[in-house]
């Protein structure tokens, strides 16, 4: 007998997992930022890389979904931010600033990577807007030879000819487009239907059509064709092409409430005009992006809401007179917005030197005279020509999607994936399978300290662009909604050492886990939760 009773065995025979009535599961949910990004970016993913100062990796991840981060960091309306779970807590993660930071980093520092050899497969892309560019970029990176056609002298589509330079600097756009177009054969000044036709497309394995929507909607009023009454998009095109436009001290009327109208009004104001914007509903119903409206309202641009044009006349001296009628809001229409109804006898007149109509744009598909269009706006090109059967893919503003740059980019990338799958003879594999979107209720707010939103935002935006340090600080605020942030909490707080940590992540040792739930309760972003057995 030993002098002292001594235990010599371990307790590992005691499989305490049998005590458990609920089980912790590491199941990532989809962060709402990712879920709401029309371009399909892994936003949480690149934010996580920024947390670790891995800007090069962040650029790599971001451009794996969107080749235009510097552009989108400036012009995207960032639904990611609107849906950020941090929004209701203190201040949404300023994703757009982070995207811009990464994009600008890429313009200066992205290493030029050798492109793969082309495999002999060829795709034609018609339209060098964001949709066409995205498709071309991803196809080329998979070894497909891409030939791109655009009727303009420069690539970019609306980015080049629509969005004014004060919102998207020309040198930034050019630098980004140069990177995107590397290895792509670009034919400027080639209008499909005028300079080439279907015959020229037959040699390609697939055709991606992304000609956008450029035809200004007509006002359908008397006098809309008289000189001095012009299309707003045309005005922006001239301006962006560097044409001198003299509207100094002119009275300019802009009709419309969308992005084009806002850009026209703000551009004309910058050229020294006295600008009045007319919109037939109220500010709340304006289809332009919220930020654009906010900026418009911050400028000395006069807005007349609930007003519709009826007639334009022109005097000998060139002065235009617009007769307009006041409206009131009625029942909601099919778009859910209140329908404007004219108030009898409320006509009034406005004097102007120039009038710009910017009430929307339609796609021009006159190159396919027999194209069909469904009620929802979707084009059906299936019957246009037997030589293109099964080879024609469509994207960007030609689709009945919201007309935005990130939607165009997303549609371009998706088209590239479809084309690649078709070239391989395989069905398209959906890789971004959404299990569940992480909501505010998934966050353990005890791990996050509220900031002073106003102070923080001013501090971040100081200087217009983020420094590496401020990008890092901003990234640090991210909750990592629904996705493991490798914080180690579950591992550290388990009383039973039942969370196993390895290079690949965390696993629960169900032989010993007693199901206390501490790990799930202490998971900051909610990627770990308990399931009743």
């Amino acid at each position: 007998m030993p002098e002292l009773a001594v235990s010599s065995g371990s307790m590992s025979w005691n499989k305490t997992g049998s005590w458990r009535s609920s089980t912790p599961l590491h199941i990532d949910k989809t962060p709402p930022c990712n879920f709401n990004c029309p371009a399909g970016e892994n936003i949480r993913g690149y934010i996580d890389l920024l947390k670790h100062y891995q800007t090069a990796e962040a650029f790599e991840l971001l451009t794996s979904a969107n080749p235009l981060p510097a552009v989108c960091g400036r012009v995207c309306f960032h639904p990611c931010q609107a849906h950020c779970n941090r929004h209701g807590f203190d201040l949404a993660i300023q994703v757009r600033l982070l995207e811009k930071f990464i994009g600008d980093w890429g313009l200066e520092q992205a290493p030029t990577k050798p492109l793969p050899q082309t495999s002999g497969r060829k795709v034609a892309v018609i339209g060098a807007g964001p949709a066409g560019l995205a498709a071309a970029y991803y196809l080329r990176r998979k070894g497909v030879a891409v030939t791109m056609y655009d009727d303009h002298a420069l690539p970019g589509g609306i980015l080049e000819y629509g969005i004014p330079a004060y919102r998207l600097e020309k040198d930034v756009l050019q630098a980004e487009l140069t990177r995107v177009l590397t290895g792509i054969e670009f034919h400027p000044g080639m209008k499909f239907g005028r300079d080439f036709d279907i015959g020229a497309l037959v040699e390609y394995d697939a055709v991606f059509l992304a000609t956008g929507a450029h035809q200004s909607k007509r006002l359908h009023i008397e006098g809309e064709n008289i000189p001095g009454v012009e299309s707003g998009l045309g005005f922006l095109q001239q301006l962006n092409s560097g044409e001198k436009i003299d509207v100094q001290s002119h009275n300019v009327l802009v009709i419309g409430g969308g992005n084009t109208a806002c850009d026209v009004a703000r551009s004309a104001y910058r050229l020294g005009a006295h600008v009045t914007l007319l919109y037939r509903r109220t500010e709340r119903e304006m289809p332009a992006f919220a930020e654009e409206i906010e900026q418009l309202r911050a400028e000395p641009i006069h807005c007349e809401f609930l007003v519709a044009p009826e007639r334009i006349t022109r005097a000998e001296n060139g002065t235009l007179t617009l007769t307009a009628i006041r409206m009131k809001l009625g029942e909601p229409d099919e778009s859910g917005r209140a329908r404007p109804v004219a108030i009898e006898g409320s006509q009034f007149t406005l004097i102007a030197d120039r009038i710009f109509a910017a009430i929307g744009e339609d796609p021009d598909v006159s190159f396919f005279p027999n194209a069909q269009q469904h009620d929802d706006g979707e084009f059906d090109f299936s019957g246009v020509d037997a030589r293109l059967a099964g080879k024609l893919f469509v994207g960007g503003d030609l689709l009945p999607n919201p007309r935005t740059v990130p939607h165009a980019v997303g549609s371009g990338r998706l088209a590239a994936e479809k084309i690649l799958a078709q070239l391989r003879g395989e069905p398209l594999v959906a890789h971004d399978c959404v299990v569940e979107v992480a909501g505010p209720e998934d966050i353990n707010y005890r791990y996050f300290t509220r900031i002073n939103a106003v102070k923080w935002q001013t501090g971040l935006a100081a200087g217009g662009a983020l420094s590496e340090q401020s990008a890092h600080a901003e990234a640090e605020r991210c909750f990592s909604c629904g996705v493991c942030s490798k914080c180690d909490n579950c591992f550290n707080f388990c009383p039973d050492l039942a969370v196993i940590k390895s290079a690949g992540g965390y696993q629960v040792n169900l032989e010993y886990c007693k199901g206390c739930g501490i790990c799930a309760a202490e998971c900051p972003g909610g990627s770990l939760r308990m399931r009743q057995q």
């Binding site: 009773a5 235990s7 371990s10 025979w13 005590w19 640090e476 942030s485 707080f493 039942a498 501490i518």
Partner: protein
């Protein structure tokens, strides 16, 4: 001041820079008998990780002794000596003397005792080893009652707390004993409080205690779901709320005189802390006010002493 799990930008806590996976994986620490969510086992693994294998545990009757294993089995990766309830300090001193005589001065003697054995039953012997400044690391895991015998009140049970011996109608009428002041009165080299929710703070204190010699005393809050009548999953949440609400502030006392707050408690979460625990269910609004006022007063004293750091605070004198 140590930041605990919060930092200015509000990032999630990378709770500790850990290597304990390697340490723990060398041993079979699985299969212990502690209740689901037991705080004592969270504390012990992190303490042992800092102390390393050259440690001897001296443990009196209590949850730790019972849950370590079923004889002849134990989870402990280091020698674990079971001693009578009141004898932890004396036994630890004996182990220390034996180790020293056999030339093993570097081995840490860890007295690992609950609040019953520390605040009540072993108090006399504890005072003795403190007065002699024995080279022992004494750690009290405080779950604020005699839990494994059936939730009887101890002198660590908070004012207004329920236990089977302070039932509804006769809730504990005395405030929790101020163990920090008692230990400071012995002018031991190091006293610190700690909470498992603040692992950075905790492990830094264990490391500091390990570096020093003489009697070092750590007072650690140990959430007990069955005894506190709380959901097991809330253990760490409660350990955090206790600190933030100032009921269990994180501080150190060096040489019995220098006070240092190691975490600034926000003062928030008092009501939530009580509300998450059945043991506080019977408290009247008045009792709650008394408890909170007491906590605030104590925290204010600590703050004053913290701010006077560098000057000598005379023990017993109100700051």
């Amino acid at each position: 001041m140590n930041q605990g799990p919060h930092s200015a930008a509000g990032r999630p806590a990378a709770a500790v820079a850990m290597t304990d996976y390697e340490f723990c994986s060398q041993y079979d620490l699985y299969g212990h008998m502690a209740c689901p969510g037991c705080g004592e086992k969270i504390l012990l693994r992190h303490i042992l990780n800092v102390l390393g294998p050259e440690t001897v545990i001296v443990c009196p009757a209590g949850c730790a002794a019972v849950t370590d294993g079923v004889f002849p089995h134990s989870i402990s990766p280091v020698p674990f000596l079971h001693v009578p309830f009141d004898a932890t300090p004396a036994a630890a001193a004996g182990v220390r003397a034996g180790l020293d005589l056999s030339g093993r001065k570097h081995v840490t003697v860890l007295a690992w005792a609950g609040d019953g054995a520390t605040f009540d039953i072993g108090m006399g012997a504890l005072s003795a080893i403190a007065e002699r400044n024995e080279n022992i690391l004494y750690v009290c895991y405080d779950n604020e009652a005699y839990m494994n015998t059936g939730i009887q009140r101890s002198s660590a049970t908070p004012y207004g707390g329920w236990s089977t011996t302070t039932p509804k109608g006769q809730l504990k009428a005395e405030p929790k004993k101020n163990i920090g002041a008692i230990m400071a009165a012995h002018r031991i080299p190091y006293f610190a409080s700690g909470s498992p929710a603040f692992l950075d703070d905790l492990t830094a204190k264990v490391a500091q205690a390990k570096r020093l010699s003489g009697l070092r005393f750590l007072h650690l809050l140990s959430p007990c779901p069955p005894g506190w009548k709380a959901d097991p999953r809330d253990g760490i949440t409660l350990a955090r709320l206790a600190v933030e609400s100032r009921l269990f502030p994180l501080y150190e006392i060096i040489e019995g005189t220098h006070y240092r707050l190691t975490h600034e408690s926000s003062g928030a979460g008092f009501d939530e802390y009580l509300q998450l625990q059945g043991r506080f269910r019977y408290m009247s609004a008045g009792d709650r006010r008394i408890l909170q006022a007491d906590a605030d007063r104590f925290y204010a004293q600590l703050t004053l002493r913290h701010n006077r750091n560098g000057e000598t605070t005379v023990i017993g004198e109100e700051p």
